[in-house]
């Protein structure tokens, strides 16, 4: 039998699913869990459209097996907004027009979400390096960088308000 029971926390919910060993995480999310936020772009781990968060790290879900997530905490773009309120990163992409066609946006958001925890006060160069695994075919990078800068400020303000 190539099927396995996989238990994971997915966007805060405990789930248990029967998964074919060869199923890639991105297919599991989109087809089995109906979470179509993580996009399938290049399928070769270059474009970053499938980026999700696994146990506090950004991972490309096209090059990761769903069975490898057994026991893990997985977050997708669907889990970013809390209690109906957009996450600061989402707000910033909306306000700064950090998207054109929108295909790369879920990956950009998930990478930005994690990157700003790794580096809460980044320089522009650090943002460009931190997001270098995410491609925007519209080449809308200027506004994406602006959005990440804006999100950093929003998150810092939030942090100091709760401190």
């Amino acid at each position: 039998m190539a099927k396995q029971i996989v238990k994971m926390t997915l966007n805060g919910q405990q789930i248990e699913q029967l998964v074919d060993s060869r199923t890639l995480l991105v297919h599991f999310l989109r087809e089995q869990m109906s979470l179509t936020g993580a996009h399938i772009g290049c399928e070769t781990s270059h474009c970053g459209a499938c980026t999700v968060d696994i146990d506090g790290e950004s991972v490309k879900a096209c090059t990761h097996l769903a069975v490898q997530c057994d026991g893990s905490d997985v977050k997708t773009v669907e889990g970013l907004a809390e209690a109906g309120a957009l996450h600061a990163v989402q707000e910033a992409f909306y306000e700064e027009h950090g998207l054109q066609c929108g295909f790369c946006t879920p990956g950009m958001l998930m990478r930005s979400y994690r990157f700003l925890q790794e580096n809460p006060n980044p320089t522009e160069d650090e943002i460009r390096l931190g997001l270098s695994g995410n491609l925007c075919r519209c080449t809308g990078y200027q506004n994406i960088v602006k959005a990440v800068q804006s999100a950093a400020i929003k998150l810092q303000q939030k942090e100091s308000a709760t401190a």
């Binding site: 190539a2 074919d20 060869r22 199923t23 970053g48 097996l65 069975v67 057994d70 931190g130 270098s132």
Partner: protein
Amino acid sequence: MIPPSFEYHRPSTVDEAVGLLSSLGSEAKILAGGHSLLPMMKLRFAQPEHLVDINRIPELKGVRVVGDDIVIGAMTSENAVIADPVLNEKVPLLPEAAKLIADPQVRNRGTIGGDIAHGDPANDHPALALACDAVMTIAGPNGKRQVPASEFFLGTYWTALEESDILTEITVKAFPPGAGYSYKKLKRKTGDWATAACAVVIAMSGGAVSHIRITLTNLGPTALRAHEAESILMGQHVSDALIRQAAEQAMEICDPAEDLRGDAEYKTAMAGQMVQRAIHDALSKAS
């Protein structure tokens, strides 16, 4: 693209993993970071019947100091290499070079051991291992053994690893005091393999070179050590002319495969440039 079907195994110790590999034989492959193997499986270049996932084996991860040795677990991720304080202090070439591998997400999954064990001459760690005089620790059905990097890389996708072996540790020594180091990698874009790359470690004594390693990535069937280029500089007071001479000597051993990155002539010429830049950069850091 979906990989072909396989049975998935997730051992929690090295012994268990070696046992699985021994019993499953040639139809089993080790799954480390998966960023070389899974793409190959999607394209049906690899169709293993069994995958042995070694990601949940704690003893394979992390960096520790044992006497004079720095022991790097084979499943230490590239991002963990970049962040590791011991490596940054004692073998700073490895974190500096790891920043030039793939991209932030891939570096969370890709491991130093996977990069070495794959045997791909385009990977960066083989040349770095040669530059650091690394020793590979291998666990197999008959116990553990050690193989120096100079005897590990046998050909393209061909290493000293036997069918049921696992690369468990990479051991390096701290650089000599005041050593300079550099990894210069010409690539077309983020995430690309090297068109040509060169690692250099250099130490000076009384104004003369007292230790030097010059190694090359993606310029032959395996990573290469440019012994004769090193000899040109060893014991000498370095000049621009000598550096150019060493680079020309290093170009002599290049035998790159032609691909979309360029033909053999171009890649060899770029190898010469990378050697010169890496030597200059390493000298600027040496004291």
